[in-house]
Each structure stands twice: as C-alpha cells, then as structure tokens.
C-alpha cells in the first residue's frame, strides 16, 4: 500500500467516522421536562350566609374542613390559571390580589414535583416563598391572613 493510499484512507475515515458515529446512536433529543399546574386564587371572608363558589368544586371538601371552616365561611374563586412549567424556568402567575411565581425545580420518581412558589401581596411585598415536594394530584394551599378584617387570600396549587 502506497503512502498516498494510506493518507487518503486516513482522511476518509476521519471525515466519515464521526458522521457515522453521530448517526448510529439515533437518540431522540431529550424531551423537555415539564408539568402542568393549576393555580386557583380564592378570596375567603366571614359572612352571614355560608357559601362556596361552585367553581371550587375540586377543593370544596377541603375548604369545609378546619382550619378554613373555623376562620371563614364564604369562599369565592378570584382567578384560575393553568400553566405548563418547564424545569428551572420561573413563570409569573397573574393574581387578582398581588402576583405569584412558580418554578419547577425537578420531577421526582415520575410522580412528584419539587416546586418553588412565591406570592406577593397587593402592595408588592413578598408574603410567602416556599419549596414543596408534592405528589401529582395533591394540593398545597398557601393561605395568607389579611389585615385588618382577617380575610383570607388563598392560592391553591396542584400539578399533574
């Protein structure tokens, strides 16, 4: 084999080798890590006549239990937002009273989410900053008591 043939063969293998190696694994690009979460904003007060907004059906039973039932008897849905959360990407959640952010930290065991939620009150001051590990389908209800009437501002979060 001549020297020229050796060099040509080396050149061809250098050019073609990586291309074949790149194609051979045929790995699909990694899917984006994301979950879909519901954010339900609720206003709670003490009223003469108890009532629960029909829109709050999925969490109505929870609101009828303590500590909610002992503090308030009227619950109205103020807003509801559904957001797809991508891993480590903070999303702003619009609220009627103040604002919130949500960040998917990670998915654990394919059935739990580690989620960071912040809630700012209507004055722009941060009321809550929490990181929670919660199963899909379960709820975390952030409840802030508002002066001067001790009304309640609730933000319920569930993911799936």
């Amino acid at each position: 084999m001549s020297v020229r043939r050796v060099w040509l063969s080396l050149l061809l293998s250098t050019l073609a080798g990586p291309a074949i190696a790149d194609e051979t694994p045929a790995q699909a690009p990694p899917a984006a890590v994301s979950v879909t979460c519901d954010f339900i904003e609720i206003g709670a007060t003490k009223a003469k006549t108890p009532s629960i907004d029909p829109k709050l059906g999925p969490i109505e039973k929870r609101l009828k239990k303590a500590p909610f039932s002992t503090q308030w008897n009227e619950f109205k849905q103020l807003s509801e937002t559904t957001r797809k959360l991508d891993k480590k990407k903070t999303e702003t959640i619009p609220l009627k009273q103040g604002s919130a952010t949500a960040t998917l930290v990670e998915i654990v065991d394919k059935s739990k989410v580690r989620l960071t939620v912040t809630i700012d009150n209507a004055k722009g001051r941060q009321a809550v900053n929490t990181t929670t590990l919660v199963d899909a389908g379960d709820y975390v209800i952030h409840t802030v008591v508002l002066p001067p009437n001790d009304d309640g501002h609730l933000v319920a979060v569930t993911c799936k």
């Binding site: 899917a31 394919k110 989410v113 919660v134 709820y139 008591v145």
Partner: protein, 184 residues
C-alpha cells in the same frame, strides 16, 4: 533513311503537342501544317469540354458526403489526446481509479463508529426515565404527604398543616401577618 511517318504517328505527336510534351524541333514542323493546326484546335476544344463537364459533376455532389468523408478520416487518425467527457464522466473515472481507497476508508470509518458506540457514556436509565414524559398521578393510597422543604414568610409567621382524606393530601401553609400578630 528514316522510317516513313504514318497518320497515327502524326496524331500521337499532336496530342503530345497539346499536352506541352512535344520536343521543340517537331513543334516547328507541326506549326507549318494547316491540317495539324486544325486537329490541334479541335483537341483543345475537346479538352475544355471534358474539364467543364467534370467540374459541373463535382458541384452536384452533396457537401454532407464530403463532411462524412472527413469525419471518417479524422476518426481513423490516431491521437495522443486523452478522451475527455463531461463532469460526471470525470467523477466516475476518478472513483474508478480510487475505488480501493474508498473501500479502505469506509472500513476504517466503520471501525471508528463501532469504537465510538462501545466507548460512549451510557446515561443512567433511571434518570432518563424520569426526565421524559409527564408525571403519573398515583392512587391516593400510594401517595405521601407533601413535604415543605423551604418556607419563608418575611412579613409574618407561618404554620404548616397536612390534611388527608379520600381525595388525597393537602398541605396548608398558613401565614399570619406580623401586624395581626402584634395586634392580638
């Protein structure tokens, strides 16, 4: 004594004179003979007639026949110039000449690809499973209570409660503003 001249000898000498081939000493003798002069003129006219007829016959031949003749002649002439085709013909010829190199290169590339396959790092299968797709909603009995891993309430105090029923778990983060606490 010389040999007596016949009529045939005279005609042959006339034709030689018409063609310009008669020796000089005989040309003078023919010039003084009136019969020989008439025959000479007749020979000249006949020659012009034949030449004109041949030229007309040449003009009647189709030019394409001459072109075919020349192409045949050109093909029969050997040439040292290498045959040149189009771009594809040249590429094909190059591959023909370097086919052995290509095969060697392809085999080498296959070996490199096989090595890359063997030596590449394999991701943890468990990790990959959790990084893809949506999360599963497990039955309530298989769920665990939510875990509050970090909690900060800058302007108040907080209490965490866990509720559980047939619908699942609920973590309640209860925040009481500091103003309210101080007012109690």
């Amino acid at each position: 004594m010389g040999k007596p001249r016949s009529a045939m000898d005279d005609d042959v000498e006339l034709m030689q004179h018409a063609d310009g081939e008669l020796p000089g000493e005989l040309r003078g003798a023919l010039a003084s003979d009136p019969d020989a002069q008439r025959k000479l003129e007749a020979l000249g006219e006949l020659r012009e007639l034949v030449r004109g007829h041949l030229e007309l016959a040449t003009d009647d031949v189709d030019d394409r026949k001459f072109q075919d003749l020349w192409r045949g002649i050109a093909r029969s002439i050997p040439t040292d110039e290498p045959e040149r085709g189009g771009l594809w013909a040249r590429i094909s010829a190059w591959f023909e000449r370097h086919r052995g190199h290509m095969i060697t290169g392809a085999v080498s590339a296959g070996a490199v690809a096989a090595l890359a396959l063997v030596l590449r790092p394999h991701p943890d299968p468990g990790e990959a499973r959790y990084e893809r797709g949506a999360i599963d909603v497990r039955p309530v009995s298989m769920r665990s209570p939510p875990a509050i891993e970090a909690l900060d309430t800058p302007d108040g105090t907080s209490t965490v409660l866990n509720l559980e029923d047939e619908d699942g778990h609920t973590a309640v983060i209860w925040v009481t503003p500091a103003d309210t606490v101080e007012g109690i």
